[in-house]
Symmetry: C2
């Protein structure tokens, strides 16, 4: 850890964020859940969408982009599919409610889908994958974003990097994937830059159009690289189209293009009732696939399943305390009135 | 076109393949559909899974891997989700039936899902995306494969490159994405090698573990590169898990590891009834996203939406005839008794 990182007990982090949110007008349960989701993101090693993102979230409440009091409402339903309007409420609360509803629908219909429009940034996408798996459901969800990546063949941001989350429950640790359609998420790019590190592989283009591992050069050009070049570009377009069509919300090209004003996002939440759908051999099968992955590593190689490192980080941070940036933590403490 | 490529009218290609299939025991409608799906793949520019794949398909019928007469049967149902057993019948007929059923379920439940186990290679995955979009449905489908790609961190094939297809209907041309989780599909790699071309970007590792654009070196090492490195590896694992859990079929690690014996695949087919779910503004919205993509290209750049090139190729091949490899075509004509 850099020298300006402290470790704070999870419960203290959660309680402090909750107090700040209460002062911003969040009522009891909503303050508790919203604070918990931020705290859990830091606890799981994704501080870019945990504590480090909290100041901007507060700023977007003050600027009116995020409506603290708005709750999502159902505006359409057909069998296992529902359309909800997020009414520009807090993005993580809206997304949590949407996945919760998708899980409930899946218990009735085998599969449940919620298309959520008019919402705000959901912070860490993986949150809703872990949520589904904790409930015994297979979860798939994605969000669109502001235009932050050129389409394949282009050089100006035109599509979103539209994170996709897929989760499968497993007793010994859920299998959870959380991937943006860019080689590095915007948060990951910022984290590398802040640490003064180069990217492990090329993550975008510099101003001259050359692939680079320098996060500064990519932030300057705005040219994030899609995963698999044309493939990630195409995937991002399809995810945007489906979330937008089914939610009746805004497509990436209609979303305000600056992070401070990004709102009106469209998201999809799909759940399968794994408990009743999967065969009796389901649990052994997931373990078998995980064991096979591990066993395919040869001398000196390390192969992990999606979610494995998150779980290791979580266990460590619960034991030792959650790493927080001391400056951000001081600011939050001040606002919390301590 | 290389000198050994002929152009054959689509109807002639279709009729010839149909006659060969009839001689192999396919009955009327099944012979017609199976032949059409192969012919359409060549027509759409994917000859690797069209005519060029036909001889191996015939060989797998002779070897007993593919059972010409087997038809899929439903083995479980819960609301909008059904589980089907493909009984190791022809993979393209099974997949077509599964997507057809998912579309029918979506008309009843808003969303329809068919998990198909115990099936064979579906040939061109895009086929089932175009099928859904032609029926006015949003389609999502994927398949697992034999182990043909090392997991991220490993060097021996342990996971499948599990192609994923996503389709959205559009009057002026459907938006259809068909992507393997490797940077190049096995068919694409073979096509580059056959043409004596290098890959446009690195597609895998050579025997020394160095990234390379040489298709020969990648085929020799068996080390396909996942799209987005760790991200494509994780996506492939998740797609395998979901298809396997919901179908009750085999995971990649349980599938016979040689192309000639690859069978018992697990696949997922999801359809959304776009016509009734999407708002009245749906059609303009898809056009708007496509127009925005095109408009984001600056001087000298070319940006296409997923499916755009397929449609251009299709139109050209319908007009000029479908390009076929003359040697393969001669062989097929002989078997057809002409």
């Amino acid at each position: 850890m850099p020298s300006d990182t402290l470790r704070i007990p999870f419960d203290e982090l959660h309680a402090t964020l909750r107090r700040v949110l209460q002062r911003s007008g969040f009522t009891g349960e909503r303050a508790d859940l919203c604070a918990r989701l931020f705290a859990e993101s830091s606890r799981d090693g994704v501080s870019s969408h945990g504590l480090n993102r909290f100041p901007r979230f507060m700023q977007m409440i003050r600027s009116g982009v995020v409506d603290v009091h708005a709750q999502p409402v159902r505006v359409g339903a057909r069998g296992g599919v529902e359309r909800w309007d997020g009414r520009r409420g807090p993005g993580n609360l809206n997304a949590y409610a949407a996945m919760d509803r998708a899980i409930a629908l899946s218990r009735e219909h085998g599969v449940g889908c919620v298309a959520l429009g008019n919402t705000n940034h959901w912070m860490r996408g993986g949150t809703y994958g872990w949520q589904a798996a904790d409930a015994g459901a297979i979860g798939i969800c994605w969000t669109n974003t502001l235009p932050n990546m050129p389409a394949w063949g282009g050089s100006t941001p035109a599509i979103g990097n539209n994170p996709l989350v897929i989760a499968v429950p497993r007793a010994a640790g859920h299998v959870v994937l959380d991937v943006a359609m860019s080689q590095f998420s915007v948060g990951a790019l910022t984290a590398y830059r802040t640490r003064g590190e180069r990217l492990p592989v090329a993550g975008g283009y510099d101003m001259t159009g050359t692939l680079t591992q320098d996060p500064n050069a990519i932030e300057a050009s705005g040219r994030l690289l899609p995963i698999g070049f044309w493939k990630g570009s195409g995937l991002a377009v399809m995810l945007d189209l489906i979330a937008t069509l089914l939610s009746g919300g805004l497509a990436t090209c209609q979303i305000p293009p600056t992070p401070e004003t990004e709102t009106g996002l469209s998201q999809m939440f799909i759940a399968f009732d794994a408990g009743s759908l999967a065969s009796a051999g389901a649990a052994p099968l997931v373990d078998r696939v995980v064991d096979h992955l591990h066993a395919s590593a040869r001398g000196g190689e390390t192969i992990t399943y999606p979610g494995e490192r998150t779980l290791a980080t979580r266990r460590q941070n619960i034991e030792l305390g959650v790493p927080v940036d001391s400056q951000i933590w001081e600011t939050v403490l001040t606002v919390a009135g301590e």
